[in-house]
Symmetry: C2
Subunit: 426 residues, 2 copies
């Protein structure tokens, strides 16, 4: 099945909006084993839209069109779809009633311009939009079946998942249920993960579980895209593969599905009835910021301290200022963590000190992270040498700090080697 | 002149990479008065590439192709360009020599696969790439003139600006020099800026200075895109418009061109030989993080403190804990700023306290920002009520704090009303 996507709208064509909708559509299809072959972007112009619909209608089996379903005069998708299919626009009474109810719930009268959104090409199948006034619709143009979707990202996402992907899979005669299982990893690169996981999905019949990766330093996302008759069928197929992935990736899996590393850390702290303070050098507030915005964080992250140098970090936590020339070491980070814990009165303290290379930014600019966790009856330290420029070291230091705290709270080894660290041979 | 863009590559077609290159190309052209009419994305497949080149070559006057110029087997742009134009690939000796020199400078032998990058369609014009091994080239296919560019974003940007935009402008018979003047504003919405600036560019002949906006809360970017014979000509045209824009936007302009608000704040602190400490509630480290990563920040931002509640903010700066039920006020933020300044031994302290609505996230969730700046002989306070959800309040509070510090350091009124604040009628 040849699938094409047409994105419409001056905002996207002029680059005012970066086209994330297309990336979302093609990723979602990829995850269920459908491939997009061609994408076209055109503006809000009748001639260009018509030509785009005609060309895709002559080439593809299925076409997803995004945008142009709004109430304003520059939203042209229904009109041009009807023209391309050679049919009239007719009022869809059911959708008009839905829109009127939508406005009534908000104690507003429906503006007359919105009526346009219920005008669909004759013969089109309505695609539900439970969260907006732009309904989608499906229609044949040329030899292809077209699916028209709204430009508002959350409305598109909802319609794609509940209305369009199932129809595409059904058209292809494929299984009708789909599920994406995700593992968020830290400390493991894509090539090593690829080698570690080779063959994990091979036992599943018909390739209905597909392994994929998405690297976005410092994390790696490992994805299992599964198809089946229904969710039970998928569950049976996925269970052994999931187990194998967890076993092989081991402690490098920091969170699964919608969860995040910082969320897992916060939950683990809450489960221990713990409170936390942080002291960070070089990461400059980014560590605290990862946790502070989460719901419930205010009761747990009680204090964060940012200091540019060892001297200031010592002073900020009430230690005597470091002697001139004293260096960032595990011992100094431990002293800072202990003092910070005492000062803030928290159950846990996390100190992240970084010794940086001197000089200008460069590709092999390095930093040595010395971090310490202090709790009532235990202290933990971790040292890692990261190479790759200032931002690379900063991102890695924040992630390493959160991951070490996670490992400590979950009773896992804190000092497990990660792929991003190198031997510091100085 | 009808311009089309073709983006190539499986990474973009599968959504693994969001297509920011296209947004960059079309924005850059828009800024010099050239409009892109159509965009096509295809993967690394011979048949699809050929069809895309043929279709665009039959429709457009100029086509920019992005990607596919690398050394690996899936980079197909030269091969398919030659086939579409009906010519052979020939070795460009000059580019081969450039590549060999490139590797020699890095003390490496050129891998044999890179030779492919010097194979260009016969008759093509070479487009220089001073920062990479993928040269671009220009070639006629059908009725259109094609420009082939590398997929690496910084190489594309460089080639677009220095090689392609001037050629497109020359083809159009337009002025050959271009310049984009940018004003970064805070506290002013797009519609008010639009009204304030109406007519500013009208005095310039031939519409060669074009006004544009790009809103990305909390900032608004105001752009003047100018074209002329040369930079002198542009300078003459721009000067009065620039002056009018500065006068009308007044203190809301926080930085110009490549400069940023945080960079301006840091420079102003350096100019005063000042040092700074910050105390932040709710913004959770984001304020410190905006400054801390900048070159030279370590000597100026000496300490940052993050506290989730008033009580903790008081304790962190060495004040007696706030009485139970004490509220965030200008008086409490002032007390915190003064104590923090004393404690950290800095010349300036900036405290940002936020009183939030209770309950769940919602569109009209509000926060009242109370911020204070303490210096040796002066204190400044500012209160603002922001409405729009937790993230909106958080972003606004960080920006407001940086902007108030900028205004204070530059001797401007700190309490000027901004478009994002509302009257708190509680």
């Amino acid at each position: 099945m040849r699938i094409e996507v047409i994105c419409t709208g001056d905002e996207v064509l002029t680059g005012k909006t970066v086209n994330t909708n297309f990336a979302h559509i093609t990723q979602k299809l990829e995850e269920v084993g459908l491939a997009v072959k061609w994408e076209t972007t055109v503006g809000d112009e009748r001639d260009e839209l018509l030509l785009a619909f005609q060309l895709a209608g002559g080439r593809a089996d299925a076409v997803i069109v995004n945008g142009g379903l709004g109430p304003t005069v520059d939203d042209l998708s229904q009109e041009i779809a009807a023209r391309a299919a050679g049919v009239e626009l007719v009022l869809n009474e059911a959708w008009l009633a839905r829109m009127e109810a939508y406005f009534a719930r908000r104690s507003r009268a429906m503006p007359p311009t919105n009526r346009k959104q219920a005008m669909l090409p004759a013969g089109a199948e309505l695609l539900d939009n439970p969260i907006g006034t732009a309904c989608g619709f499906a229609l044949d143009i040329g030899r292809a079946h077209f699916y028209f979707t709204p430009g508002v990202p959350r409305e598109l996402r909802c319609m794609l998942e509940s209305e369009i992907v199932p129809r595409l899979l059904a058209r292809q005669g494929a299984a009708s249920a789909i599920h994406l299982k995700r593992f968020h990893c830290f400390g493991i690169g894509e090539s090593r993960a690829d080698a570690l996981l080779a063959g994990t999905a091979d036992g599943v019949p018909d390739g209905t579980v597909k392994l994929g990766f998405r690297a976005h330093y410092p994390q790696l996302e490992v994805k299992l895209a599964a198809r089946g008759r229904d969710m039970d069928d998928i569950g049976h197929k996925l269970a052994p593969v999931e187990a194998a992935v967890r076993r092989r990736l081991g402690n490098h899996v920091v969170a699964e599905d919608e969860r995040t590393l910082e969320g897992v850390v916060l939950e683990a702290l809450a489960a221990h009835a713990a409170t936390l303070c942080t002291v960070e050098m070089f990461t400059g507030g980014q560590l605290a910021a990862r946790l502070a915005h989460l719901p419930g964080a205010a009761r747990i992250l009680r204090r964060g301290t940012v200091a540019p140098e060892l001297d200031e970090a010592f002073a900020a936590v009430g230690l005597e200022r470091a002697a001139a020339g004293e260096r960032v070491t595990l011992a100094s980070s431990l002293a800072v963590a202990r003092a910070a814990r005492r000062q803030a009165g928290t159950t846990h303290a996390l100190a992240v000190l970084v010794a940086l290379d001197e000089g200008a930014e460069r590709a092999d600019f390095a930093g040595t992270v010395c971090l310490a966790i202090a709790a009532a009856d235990v202290v933990v330290t971790r040292r890692a040498h990261l190479v790759g420029g200032r931002d690379w070291v900063r991102l890695g230091a924040v992630e390493l700090a959160l991951d070490c705290l996670r490992r400590h709270l979950q009773g896992l080894p804190v000092a497990e080697r990660i792929d991003f660290e190198t031997i510091d041979d100085r």
